[in-house]
């Protein structure tokens, strides 16, 4: 009898695997018809699960929120990596670089946010809060001449604006008042584009979460989640303005994890995504899951961002922010084990996508026992070094101040530079950018009274320094 049951279980398991394959093919099939060839580095084929498969759900999964399923865990395969380490690309040793003293290139009565450098390494894409309002301007700032061109004004701070090189335009999310009842004001996030000044703007979408907004590496498509459907990506062709919901439905990926039901039960965290620079992969991440999606084969696999130490953490480490290295070999994450803000600590986690080697680092100092924060990160163009902001002290008036740490991702070491200076203290994730030439770091250096933008020149030792 036991044997019969075992055989029956095996048959059911095979059926379940078949059903899963169909679901995955349906889910990810045709995600992108025009994807580029997959990177050779990606080595995450779906493994045959060794554990008994789960039975298929009895009823179709309903679309749209609430997203949290009540079914048993879906067997999303784990990502696998090459068994042995590939040699790191040769890079210039860190000690041969010289970092100039920071120079304040912009001051503002409100906060300044750094979005990104433009490809020319001369223009910096920034936001400036307009004092006493909930508005901020989106500007292109010439770090050499000081020229400032305002592209748009928006309401709220819903994610970084995105440069669209093909259109020489910017895409951004702004808030539109939706309901104003006594003191309760609610907003709707809309996606807009600006072609160079605040008058030449155009609405692209009525419902777009700024936190999720990304551009495809070729700049032709924008991807985002809408508020009305946190499980289905929207793809917007920036030239034709057409919007297509992607077939990728995250409902099937939002499975309950054993031991974490208590935290996951009533939460439907928003997913964010980052494209591998060559367009072959997407890292999809949220509070409970981190997935890697192969854009050619549409295979998806899951990986962890660290060990779950339940007595020291609320939940397993998850990513607040994720960035691919420019060469696509590494993924860098700012991670935390805290369930909700305020975070108790954040770390830097680096995953070598070739070997699967994972390092968790804590650049910075404890500002109280066990309290340290990594707030921002920016890759150097050589993909060997990563600049991060890590807290070093709390001021008497209760501000956190950060230092700049240069992380050698190959060695897993970090060194503080310019330790006589304070940086950061503003909005996490909007305070640091390394220019495409590798010769300048833009970093926020505010005071309690005003927003400030600093430039640090990065030069090989002995080379003549230029003024920004």
């Amino acid at each position: 009898m036991k044997r019969l049951l075992s055989i029956a279980g095996g048959v059911l398991g095979l059926l379940a695997l078949g059903a899963l394959a169909v679901i995955l093919a349906f889910t990810f099939g045709g995600l992108r018809a025009d994807v580029k060839p997959a990177s050779q580095a990606f080595q995450s084929p779906i493994e045959t699960p060794t554990q008994p498969p789960y039975p298929p759900p009895a009823t179709p999964i309903p679309p749209g929120p609430p997203a949290m399923p009540t079914v048993a865990p879906t067997p999303i395969p784990r990502c696998t990596f090459a068994a042995r380490s590939a040699p790191a690309e040769p890079a210039t040793p860190l000690e041969t670089y010289h970092f100039s003293d920071p120079q304040v290139v912009l001051t503002h009565t409100g906060a300044v946010g750094i979005a990104s450098w433009l490809p020319d390494s001369q223009h910096l894409f920034i936001t400036q809060d307009i004092p006493n309002t909930n508005r901020n301007s989106i500007d292109i700032f010439n770090v050499r001449t000081g020229e400032l061109i305002t592209y748009a004004e928006r309401v709220g701070n819903g994610g970084k604006p995105i440069w669209l090189p093909a259109l020489r335009a910017i895409a951004y999310v702004t808030l539109v008042e939706e309901e104003h009842h006594e003191q309760r004001i609610s907003y709707r996030p809309e996606l807009w584009v600006s072609y160079g000044n605040s008058q030449q703007v155009e609405r692209l979408a009525l419902d777009a979460l700024g936190l999720s907004l990304v551009a495809e590496p070729d700049g032709k498509h924008l991807w985002y989640f809408s508020r009305s459907d946190l499980n289905r990506l929207q793809q917007l062709n920036v030239e034709t303005r057409t919007i297509q919901p992607a077939p990728l439905d995250l409902t099937s990926l939002r499975y309950l994890k054993p031991g974490l039901e208590w935290a996951m039960r009533d939460r439907s965290p928003t997913f964010r995504m980052v494209w591998q620079p060559d367009g072959s992969q997407i890292a999809l991440y949220s509070q409970f899951w981190t997935f890697l999606l192969d854009t050619q084969t549409n295979q998806v696999c899951e990986f962890d961002l660290g060990e779950y130490i339940s007595e020291a953490m609320d939940i397993p480490p998850w990513a607040l922010e994720t960035q691919w290295s420019p060469n696509g070999r590494y993924l860098a994450f700012i991670t935390t084990g805290t369930l909700s803000v305020p975070f108790r600590r954040t770390e830097l986690t680096i995953l070598d996508m070739e070997t699967g080697e994972r390092r968790t680092l804590s650049p910075g100092l404890d500002i109280a026992p066990g309290r340290h924060y990594v707030t921002d990160m920016a890759w150097a163009p050589d993909s060997r070094y990563l600049a991060v902001l890590g807290t070093v002290r709390i001021t008497e008036t209760g501000s956190e101040k950060e230092g700049i740490f240069i992380v050698d991702v190959d060695q897993g070491e970090f060194h503080q530079i310019l330790s006589n200076y304070d940086f950061g203290g503003g909005l996490w994730g909007s305070q640091l950018a390394w220019d495409p030439s590798g010769s300048q770091l833009a970093v926020n250096c505010p005071t309690p009274e005003e927003g400030r933008l600093c430039i640090i020149l990065v030069r090989p030792k002995g080379a003549q320094e230029e003024q920004p």
Binding site: A111, I185, G210, L211, P269, A312, L320, T391, P446, E449
Partner: protein
């Protein structure tokens, strides 16, 4: 009468009165009145709870974290499904402590899903007292971690997001979710922690608290913030988190659960003791304080104790099945949680117990183990070793062993429970077993007011 001496005496009296009169005024009995409102400066915050630079005050319409939990910013787990603006029209904002401030502070300080409700109640009392202390000091309070992180709508954001029908007094609504109920229950008693000497002994205490620490807390800058042993916080995975002064948030949850894990959803193994009342947790972490209610009435007695560790001398450290006529050595490590030391000079302090069983009443044991050294308040604890050898012959079944401290003076013998109202520590013992059902180690501990 020597006129010179008389004049001198009068002069001295005048000088004395001149000096002492203002002091007498300053020493006049003060009756502390609990505030109902708090004034808070509201700032944009970083994800660590610090004020964001440049310092930016929240204003109507702002959607930054710190101004609202339903924020819309990168890098934060803002509520993705909706964005709500800063709900106040002024800054600083004057708000009700009970129906607004604490309801949003408590969920930011502890995870309502993971912490034991009794620990959340202790947290609410500590947070209230901390606010009272700052108000009483005249501090310029803000919403950052410099004080206590206060983010509007944090109560409504407790998952699943639920907006009470009556926002002005959310806890009176019928449509609250489970986590909101827990927070409301924690805040409801309106107790605060007081410390001082008569007649200022009703002033709020500076009740610092922190996330976690292993084995022992750290002394702070107040007489009630002395380092105390915290043996339940002994798991090797515990990492020190925070300054270590006063209440350990995770330690509080471990004591409330009687488990080595703070998290309701994990079981790392039972500890030998469990405290069921928030008062027991608070007097453990804050030495010599009193709990007072909203009208200032003192709720805690002058004589108190907490069991920190019980050693049963069994392989699993559970109470053994006992047989009448048998002899069972055990030990209890006791913390003096009173506002006073227990000296051995003229007073005598002992640990003893009562036996109780339904239908048979209760009988006091003659076994009494006396302290042999002064036991100071707070720390260090004192270990009583005793042998239980007087088991009543009431037939097989579950008995209750009720541990209690007693004070003997020339005036009489005073049990801490019946005389002063501090709870006994009750343990269910299977006598002349086997017993039919599993009985938890700890039974109800009741405060006899």
């Amino acid at each position: 009468m020597n006129p010179t001496k008389s004049f001198g005496a009068l002069f001295l009296l005048f000088i004395t009165l001149s000096i002492s009169a203002p002091q007498a005024i300053a020493r006049a009995p003060l009756s502390y009145s609990s505030p109902s409102q708090i004034s808070v400066r509201m700032y944009w915050l970083t994800a660590s709870g610090a004020r964001r630079e440049p310092y930016t005050l929240c204003a109507s319409g702002h959607t930054q974290w710190g101004c609202t939990a339903f924020c819309n910013e990168p890098g934060y787990p803002c509520e993705g499904s909706q964005t709500l603006a800063y709900p106040y029209t002024t800054n600083p904002v004057n708000i009700q402590i009970e129906t607004d401030y604490l309801l949003d502070v408590v969920p930011k300080e502890v995870s309502v899903e993971a912490f034991h409700p009794t620990a959340i109640q202790a947290q609410a009392i500590a947070a209230r007292s901390y606010a009272y202390w700052h108000i009483n000091q005249g501090s310029t309070i803000n919403n950052s971690a410099q004080f206590q992180v206060f983010v509007p709508h944090a109560f409504e954001a407790l998952p699943p997001t639920t907006f009470p029908d009556n926002p002005s007094n959310p806890c009176t609504n019928s449509n609250l979710n489970a986590d909101q109920h827990i927070v409301c229950n924690a805040v409801a008693p309106r107790y605060y922690i007081a410390y001082g000497t008569y007649s200022n002994d009703d002033l709020p205490a500076f009740t610092e608290y922190f996330a976690d620490i292993r084995n022992r807390t750290v002394s702070g800058g107040q007489p009630y913030l002395i380092a105390v042993d915290d043996p339940i916080s002994s798991h090797p995975d515990i990492g020190n988190d925070g300054h270590g002064h006063g209440l350990s948030q995770k330690g509080a949850s471990r004591w409330a659960r009687g488990d080595l894990s703070y998290n309701l959803n994990w079981d790392f193994g039972a500890w030998s003791g469990r405290w069921e009342r928030a008062e027991q947790i608070l007097v453990h972490y804050y030495t010599g304080i009193h709990i007072r209610d909203g009208s200032g009435t003192r709720l805690t007695p002058l004589y108190r104790w907490n069991p920190l560790r019980i050693t049963w001398n069994t392989p699993d450290n559970r109470p053994p099945i006992m047989y009448h006529g048998g002899s069972y050595p055990m030990a209890i490590q006791v913390q003096n949680t009173s506002p006073y030391d227990w000296p051995i000079n003229g007073q005598f302090w002992a640990l003893s117990y009562h036996w109780a069983k339904a239908g048979f009443g209760e009988t006091a044991s003659d076994n009494r183990v006396w302290t042999t050294v002064d036991v100071p308040k707070g720390d260090p604890p004192y270990t009583f070793s005793l042998t239980i050898n007087d088991i009543p012959n009431w037939g097989p079944g579950a008995y209750t062993l009720k541990f209690d401290m007693l004070l003997f003076t020339y005036g009489g013998t005073y049990w801490f429970s019946t005389t002063y109202g501090w709870p006994t520590y009750n343990v269910s013992i299977c006598v002349d077993g086997p017993c039919k059902v599993f009985i938890p180690i700890v039974l109800n501990t009741t405060m006899a007011h």
